[in-house]
């Protein structure tokens, strides 16, 4: 997303203000460059889906909403993220309306990816286009409305990318579900959604997956041992 062409534009005030108003700009900075897998193994194997907690020698512990708020500064009160999977047609429609893609362009994105997903490469490409075009129009007079529209589109594209690489990372890690775009339709209310709840639920779900997966694999090994 950040290259030599876009970096100066993304350093400008409107970009920074627009992004911080959504309350999600922290996501750019919150991560470890190195994950201590061994440490995580030790905890994940003590995770229990029935109680959504780690069973330790002295009792149970779990990641709470308070942790989400204090560690990530994501809002934990507000509207829940609620969505169903969307059809390809809806997806093309949304991409045209909110990202400013042309029908052919959006359709290309659909056929390239499985389901209603947008490739990161595609998002990168159109973000750059929007940013450069708004810069050109900004230097002309009387184009304020167009400039604003392009800036909103650029922010929307970037937010979609940002949640795709952080909060809701897909295993293949090269595309994001377009359904999240519905939360960026109006940039003024992005902050009113409880992103912290969504992130915590996602964490629990991933832990359930890993715990469940290792259990079923283990039982296979067990039967192997008996043989």
């Amino acid at each position: 997303m950040h290259d030599d062409d876009t970096r100066p534009i993304m350093a400008s005030k409107w970009w920074h203000d627009g992004l911080s108003a959504t309350g999600l700009s922290w996501l750019q900075d919150t991560s470890y460059s190195q994950i201590d897998h061994d440490l995580l193994f030790a905890f994940v194997e003590r995770w229990h889906e029935e109680t959504s907690s780690f069973h330790l020698s002295f009792g149970e512990m779990t990641v709470t909403l308070d942790d989400m708020s204090c560690l990530l500064h994501l809002p934990i009160d507000g509207m829940l993220l609620s969505h169903e999977t969307i059809s390809r047609n809806d997806m093309v429609d949304m991409m045209m309306r909110y990202l400013g893609s042309s029908a052919g362009d959006a359709l290309g994105g659909v056929t390239e990816t499985r389901g209603a997903h947008a490739r990161f490469n595609y998002l990168k490409k159109i973000l750059k286009e929007r940013l450069q075009l708004q810069l050109v129009l900004d230097n002309k007079c009387g184009m304020e409305e167009d400039v604003q529209r392009l800036r909103d589109q650029a922010l929307c594209i970037y937010l979609l990318y940002l949640v795709g690489i952080t909060l809701f990372t897909d295993k293949s890690a090269n595309y994001v579900d377009v359904v999240y775009m519905r939360y960026f339709r109006d940039l003024d209310i992005v902050f009113d959604f409880s992103w912290g709840v969504a992130c915590l639920s996602y964490l629990y779900r991933e832990l359930n997956h890993v715990a469940h997966w290792s259990c079923s694999q283990l039982s296979e090994y067990l039967s192997l041992l008996h043989v």
């Binding site: 991560s31 897998h37 440490l39 905890f43 194997e45 009792g59 709470t64 560690l71």
Partner: protein, 158 residues
């Protein structure tokens, strides 16, 4: 006749190894790439550093009080203090003295405590549901832990 003891312990060791391999595989199947951030892994690691003494760096508290910055970014990437086996051993023998139950208490000035954290039941995200039962971990909020209800009673199956 074979002595039973050694056979059992041998089986246990095998099982242990296989179990570890399995979990390693699960993690490695999440393909790691520097350009993508697996937030849930980072988050879990940050949570462990916050709540358990002796794991993670000592200066995790630094820099937060004067600043509203998210804390995760302050943690320097580090290499584990223990080898995998002793991580497990360490977690096995943890007692309450090694645990910081409510690490955010002093930071609630900067980031106020919200009562919604105490909500206990189901959480929904998209079309998925997970149990969220902080009533089982009230100590983490600085409250007294009571006798726990059955999880089905706390969050009745839908």
């Amino acid at each position: 006749m074979l002595p039973i003891g050694p056979v059992v312990s041998c089986q246990n060791t095998c099982l242990c190894c296989m179990y570890k391999l399995t979990i390693m595989f699960v993690f490695s199947s999440v393909s790691f790439d520097c350009s993508y951030i697996y937030m849930w892994l980072s988050l879990l690691q940050a949570w462990i550093y916050q709540h358990f003494r002796g794991i993670g760096s000592n200066n995790v508290w630094g820099g937060y009080r004067d600043d509203m910055h998210a804390r995760v970014m302050f943690f320097a990437p580090r290499i584990g203090l223990f080898t995998p086996d002793s991580y497990r051993g360490h977690v096995d023998v943890l007692d309450l003295s090694g645990v910081v139950m409510a690490p955010h208490e002093e930071h609630h000035e900067a980031c106020p405590f919200k009562r919604v954290s105490l909500y206990s039941r189901w959480l929904r995200y998209g079309n998925h549901m997970v149990r969220y039962l902080p009533e089982r971990v009230l100590r983490q909020f600085g409250y007294v832990q009571t006798v726990l209800r059955h999880s089905c009673e706390s969050a009745p199956p839908q």
